[in-house]
């Protein structure tokens, strides 16, 4: 139990996917203009991350390792993630049109979100058990949402600020991300894995 809590906190805060591993930077810069948007994207990503962690863990251990096919790892993982996103999209559209309207536009973007593939690769690399993998997925998703929402909050405030023209857009976002990364380092001593 302590181990699982540690994995969760590490993935969500101290080793935040966006701010220490640079995973999922594209949506972090692209979809962080409004807080509602950021929350929607974050929830959709967390959902897919958790599912992806479960499915790829099963595939890796019961198919790839069992039959000695480690070289198919990347190809199979990315296909699993892409199909998963499609299935989730269709499922949500069928079951809850309201949820689909809220999350739908973000779902296709998630396939090329490096955070998902990164999550599955880290999970395999660190030899997590199934339960640890799932907790890792949820934690990483929460961390991603947290970073996205904080960033959106700051950017909403920035709108009325006088930013030098060349830095507007990506430039200032990256610099703020740098400062956020520095402040998240403060959590570093919280746990030692």
């Amino acid at each position: 139990m302590i181990n699982l809590t540690l994995i969760f906190i590490a993935a969500a805060i101290t080793h935040n996917f966006v701010l220490t591993y640079f995973l999922g930077i594209c949506p972090f810069i692209g979809v962080s203009k409004r807080i509602e948007q950021a929350v929607g994207m974050g929830i959709a990503t967390t959902f897919v991350m958790t599912l992806a962690a479960c499915v790829t863990w099963i595939i890796y251990h019961f198919i790839l390792i069992r039959f000695g096919l480690p070289f198919l790892q990347y190809a199979s993982f990315i296909i699993v993630i892409a199909s998963l996103v499609q299935i989730v999209e269709m499922f949500i559209r069928k079951v809850s049109p309201a949820l689909y309207r809220a999350l739908g536009i973000y779902l296709p973007l998630i396939t090329t979100n490096c955070a998902i593939l990164g999550l599955t690769l880290f999970m395999i690399l660190r030899k997590y058990t199934f339960l640890e993998g799932v907790v890792f997925g949820v934690g990483a998703g929460c961390g991603f949402t947290l970073a996205l929402v904080i960033m959106a909050g700051i950017r909403e405030e920035l709108e009325c600020c006088d930013i030098p023209k060349p830095l507007q857009g990506a430039g200032i976002t990256l610099i703020i991300a740098g400062m956020l990364a520095l402040s998240f380092m403060g959590f570093g001593g919280l746990i030692s894995r």
Binding site: L72, R126, S192, R193
Partner: protein, 185 residues
């Protein structure tokens, strides 16, 4: 219907071709990768025991040890130790004298610590401290001052977590090894 057949056949062919390409790549690369891993271990052992000319691999109670020898004489045991550091796994090779009381040295094989801070554990300055260190009582570390006792090392400034990780990984493995080897005698 024609569309469906076309879709399925294109995907199948792509899958088959990519699978074949990957099989050949794997066949070519895998022996080289295994060689690289073996070489890494070999280099680390000879770096810790510069006088050794051969080593033997042995497995004692699910831990791998290497007996480093010079012309048949046992110089000491080298062993792999692994554990979690600040950012990810730290994997190292350590050497210990046959009496199991004195460390010969350590080499860091893998680490993903913070560059510029925790990654300093891979620097000679940090690793050299372990040469001739006593293993009992347990190895400990001190901060911001030179070590005084024969079983102490000085932690890297600003990277206590990484330094203490190295120390605790070592302590745990040494304890395990002592138990295992003593049973053997």
């Amino acid at each position: 219907m024609r569309k469906t057949i076309q879709m399925i056949s294109v995907l199948t062919i792509i899958g088959l071709v990519s699978g074949t390409v990957l099989v050949f790549t794997y066949k070519y690369a895998n022996p080289l990768i295994l060689d690289n891993q073996k070489n890494e271990i070999k280099e680390a052992i000879f770096k810790i025991f510069p006088k050794a000319d051969t080593y033997e691999k042995d497995i004692i109670e699910d831990s791998v040890i290497f007996r480093a020898k010079e012309g048949g004489k046992l110089l000491g045991y080298a062993f792999l130790a692994e554990g979690n550091g600040y950012q990810g796994a730290i994997k190292m090779m350590a050497g210990i004298e046959p009496n199991l009381e004195t460390l010969v040295g350590i080499e860091i094989l893998e680490s993903q610590e913070t560059p510029g801070l925790g990654q300093e554990i891979t620097e000679e300055e940090f690793k050299a401290q372990f040469k001739g260190l006593m293993t009992s009582p347990k190895i400990t570390y001190v901060k911001n001052k030179p070590p005084e006792r024969p079983n102490e090392i000085r932690a890297v400034t600003g990277a206590t977590v990484s330094s203490s990780a190295v120390v605790s990984i070592l302590n745990e493995k040494i304890k395990k090894l002592k138990n295992a080897l003593q049973k053997l005698r």
